[in-house]
C-alpha cells in the first residue's frame, strides 16, 4: 500500500499543478460564489417574509406562490443544481483523461514499471489520487460557496445545515468520481489522449442530456403512453384519453428502472432533497402550514441514488483494472 500512496502523491502533485485544471476549478469556484450572492439575498428576503408571517396568513396568496417564496433552501439555491451537474464532470474528466495514455506516450509508465512496482499499485495510486482530488475540489468549493451564502443570508448554522452541506459535498465527490473513473477507463483503452478526452466529453453529454430522452422514447414505444411531456398530459386529459392502469404502471416501472442508471438525475435528486428544508401545505381559508423537514427525514430518500452512484464507480473501476492489467505498455 505504501507504493500506491507514493504513486498517489506523485499523481496528486501532477494534477494540482495542471494549469487547465486550476483554470476550470477557479471558474467553478467563481460561479459557485457568484450564484451564492443573489441566492443569499433571496433567502434573506424569504426569512424576512417568514418572520412577518405573511405567507402563513395571506389568504390571497396561492399555494404555488407560498411554496416558491418559502424559506426552504431549495428555492434560493435551485440555480446551483444545473451548474454543479454541468461543470463537475468536466473537472473530473480533466484529471483523468490522459492519466495512463499520457504516461505511455511520454514513456514514464514504462520507466515506472521497471521499478519494483506492481500494476495494481499504480492503478490504486491513480484511483486514490482521483478520490483525493474530487474530494478536495468538491469540499473546498462547497465550503467557500456555503460560507458566502450563510454569511450573506443570515441562515442559522446548526448541525442540520452542516449535515446537509456534508451530504452535498459527499455526493458531489461521488458524482465526480464516476466521471473520473470513465476518464481513467478511456485513458487505458485508447492510446491517444485526444481520443480519450473526446470520448469522455461525448459520454458526459450523453449522461447529462441524451440518456433521459432515450429512456422516455423507449418507454413510449413499448407502452404507448405519454405522461410527463409538458402539455401532453393536459391535452390528453382534455381529450378524455386515459391510459389503462396496467400500461401506466408498466410505463412508470420501466422509466424508474432505467432512471436508476441516470447519473445526472440521481445527483440532481440528492441535491434537491438535501436542500428541501421546508414544506408548505394549504390550511383551509386561514393560509398555509409551514413544516420543517429535518435532515433525518431525507436520509431514506438518498439511499438509492447514493448506492447507484457507488455501484457505478465500483463497476467502472473493476473494468478499468482488468484492462490495465492486460494493457500492453510499449
Amino acid at each position: 500500500l505504501a507504493n500506491a500512496f507514493t504513486v498517489a502523491k506523485k499523481e496528486l502533485r501532477d494534477s494540482v499543478g495542471d494549469r487547465v485544471f486550476i483554470a476550470i476549478y477557479l471558474i467553478l469556484l467563481i460561479i459557485i460564489v457568484t450564484v451564492a450572492i443573489p441566492s443569499a439575498a433571496e433567502q434573506r428576503l424569504s426569512l424576512q417574509l417568514q418572520l412577518q408571517g405573511v405567507s402563513e396568513n395571506d389568504s390571497n396568496m396561492s399555494l404555488y406562490d407560498a411554496q416558491r417564496v418559502s424559506a426552504s433552501l431549495i428555492n434560493s439555491l435551485r440555480t446551483l443544481i444545473p451548474v454543479l451537474s454541468f461543470l463537475c464532470p468536466v473537472l473530473a474528466l480533466l484529471i483523468s483523461f490522459n492519466s495512463v495514455n499520457g504516461e505511455i506516450e511520454d514513456g514514464s509508465l514504462k520507466v515506472s514499471l521497471s521499478y519494483p512496482l506492481y500494476r495494481d499499485q499504480i492503478f490504486l495510486g491513480k484511483l486514490l489520487n482521483g478520490f483525493f482530488m474530487t474530494f478536495l475540489t468538491s469540499f473546498s468549493a462547497m465550503l467557500v460557496g456555503f460560507a458566502v451564502y450563510i454569511y450573506l443570508s443570515g441562515v442559522a448554522v446548526n448541525l442540520d445545515l452542516l449535515s446537509r452541506i456534508l451530504i452535498i459535498a459527499f455526493s458531489t465527490t461521488l458524482y465526480m468520481m464516476i466521471f473520473f473513473s470513465l476518464g481513467l477507463l478511456f485513458s487505458i483503452y485508447f492510446n491517444n489522449p485526444v481520443k480519450s478526452f473526446l470520448l469522455g466529453v461525448i459520454t458526459w453529454i450523453i449522461a447529462i442530456d441524451v440518456y433521459k430522452q432515450v429512456i422516455n422514447l423507449a418507454a413510449e414505444l413499448l407502452f404507448g403512453i405519454r405522461i410527463d411531456q409538458r402539455w401532453g398530459s393536459e391535452i390528453a386529459a382534455y381529450m378524455g384519453y386515459s391510459p389503462s392502469p396496467s400500461n401506466k404502471l408498466s410505463y412508470e416501472t420501466f422509466v424508474n428502472i432505467c432512471s436508476i442508471f441516470d447519473v445526472n438525475s440521481n445527483y440532481g435528486k440528492i441535491l434537491e432533497n438535501s436542500l428541501t428544508t421546508l414544506s408548505v401545505i394549504s390550511y383551509s381559508a386561514k393560509g398555509f402550514i409551514v413544516n420543517n423537514i429535518y435532515v433525518g427525514a431525507i436520509l431514506s430518500t438518498l439511499y438509492n441514488p447514493l448506492t447507484v452512484m457507488l455501484s457505478l464507480i465500483v463497476i467502472i473501476n473493476l473494468f478499468s483494472y482488468l484492462l490495465f492489467i492486460r494493457k500492453e505498455v510499449v
Binding site: T34, P38, T79, L94, V201, I205, I235
Partner: protein, 327 residues
C-alpha cells in the same frame, strides 16, 4: 481560387473520413430523430384537439396559445438538445486543423509550394463550410422528413423557405464554433490544448447565464421574478430594469440566437381570443396563419449577431495565421 478549392477538397475528404466526427454525427442524428419523434407525437395529439373544437369554454385549458398548428413548440426540445451537439461538432472539426498539420510537418511542405497562406486558410474555412452545410442539411432533411411523415403537415413553399432559413442559421452557428476551434488551433501548437480551450469556450457559452442574476442583483438590487415577488410582498417597489439586462445578455448567447431563428421561423400560426370579458362569457378562439414574409423582420437580429460573431472570429484567425511562425 483553384488552389483554395483544391485545399477545400482535401480538407473535406479528410473530415469525411474522420471517425471522431462520424461518432458525433451519428449522435446528432439519433438525438434529432428522438426529439423530432416526440414533437411529432405531441403535434398529432394536439392537432386533434384543434380540429375537434377550436372555440372552447374559457378556462378549460390553461395554455390555449399552444393549441394551434404552429410548429415552434414541437421543436423546443430539439433545439435545446441538438444545438449544443452541433457546436461541439464544429469545434471538433477544427481544433487540430492547423496545429495538427504543423506537428505532422505537412503545413511546412504545403507552404513550400506556390501557395499563399490566404489560400490555405480560406481553403480550410471552405472545407469546413462544406462539411458543416452537409451535416446541417442532412440533419434537418431527416428530421423534417420524419416530422412531416408523422404529422401530415403540408409541404408548401412557405414551409420550405422556413426550413431553409433554419438550415442557414444552423450553418452560421456551427461555423462560429468551427471558427473558434480554428482560432485555438492557430494559437496553440498542441491539439490537446486547442481542444481543451475550445471545450472551455463551449462550456462558458453554456454556463455564462448563471452569473447574470448576480449582475442584475448588483445593479438593480434584485434578480429574477421570485425575488421581485418577495420584495413586493414585503412592500418594496421594483421596476423591470433587470429584464433589460437579461435581454442584453441574450445578445451574446449564440445558442439563443439560433433558437430564436428556429422559434420565429416555425411560428406558423397564432390563436387569438375574442369575447370572455366576464368569467361567465364564452371565449371564442380563432387561428390566424402567419406567412413567411411576416416573420422575416424577427430573423434580422439573430442572423446579424451570428454573422458579426463569425466575421470577427475569422478576421482574428486570418490575422493570427498570417503572423504564425511555422517551423
Amino acid at each position: 481560387m483553384n488552389k483554395t478549392l483544391s485545399i477545400a477538397k482535401k480538407e473535406f475528404s479528410d473530415h469525411v473520413s474522420d471517425s471522431n466526427l462520424l461518432i458525433i454525427y451519428v449522435i446528432v442524428l439519433s438525438v434529432t430523430l428522438l426529439t423530432v419523434y416526440w414533437g411529432g407525437v405531441a403535434y398529432r395529439v394536439q392537432s386533434t384537439v384543434t380540429l375537434a373544437d377550436v372555440s372552447m369554454q374559457h378556462g378549460v385549458i390553461d395554455i390555449p396559445g399552444s393549441l394551434t398548428d404552429s410548429l415552434e413548440i414541437y421543436f423546443v426540445t430539439f433545439g435545446q438538445t441538438v444545438f449544443p451537439l452541433l457546436a461541439l461538432f464544429g469545434l471538433i472539426l477544427s481544433f487540430y486543423s492547423v496545429n495538427g498539420e504543423l506537428n505532422g510537418g505537412s503545413l511546412k511542405v504545403a507552404l513550400s509550394y506556390p501557395l499563399y497562406r490566404d489560400n490555405l486558410l480560406f481553403g480550410k474555412a471552405l472545407g469546413g463550410l462544406l462539411i458543416v452545410s452537409l451535416v446541417s442539411f442532412s440533419t434537418y432533411f431527416i428530421g423534417f422528413s420524419l416530422f412531416i411523415w408523422m404529422t401530415s403537415v403540408a409541404l408548401t413553399l412557405d414551409l420550405i423557405m422556413r426550413i431553409l432559413s433554419i438550415i442557414f442559421g444552423t450553418v452560421l452557428y456551427t461555423m462560429v464554433f468551427f471558427g473558434l476551434g480554428l482560432l485555438f488551433s492557430i494559437i496553440f501548437n498542441k491539439p490537446l490544448k486547442a481542444l481543451t480551450a475550445s471545450l472551455g469556450v463551449w462550456v462558458a457559452f453554456n454556463i455564462y447565464w448563471s452569473i447574470i442574476p448576480t449582475i442584475s442583483y448588483l445593479l438593480y438590487g434584485y434578480s429574477g421574478s421570485n425575488m421581485a415577488y418577495l420584495l413586493q410582498e414585503l412592500g418594496y417597489t421594483t421596476n423591470n430594469s433587470s429584464s433589460v439586462l437579461g435581454r442584453f445578455s441574450l445578445l451574446f448567447n449564440i445558442q439563443y440566437q439560433l433558437e430564436s431563428i428556429l422559434w420565429n421561423a416555425l411560428h406558423v400560426s397564432e390563436m387569438r381570443g375574442v369575447g370572455g370579458s366576464l368569467p361567465s362569457d364564452t371565449m371564442h378562439y380563432y387561428v390566424i396563419f402567419i406567412p413567411f414574409e411576416k416573420i422575416l423582420p424577427s430573423l434580422i437580429t439573430p442572423f446579424s449577431v451570428l454573422t458579426v460573431f463569425l466575421i470577427s472570429i475569422f478576421a482574428l484567425c486570418y490575422i493570427l495565421f498570417r503572423r504564425k511562425e511555422i517551423t
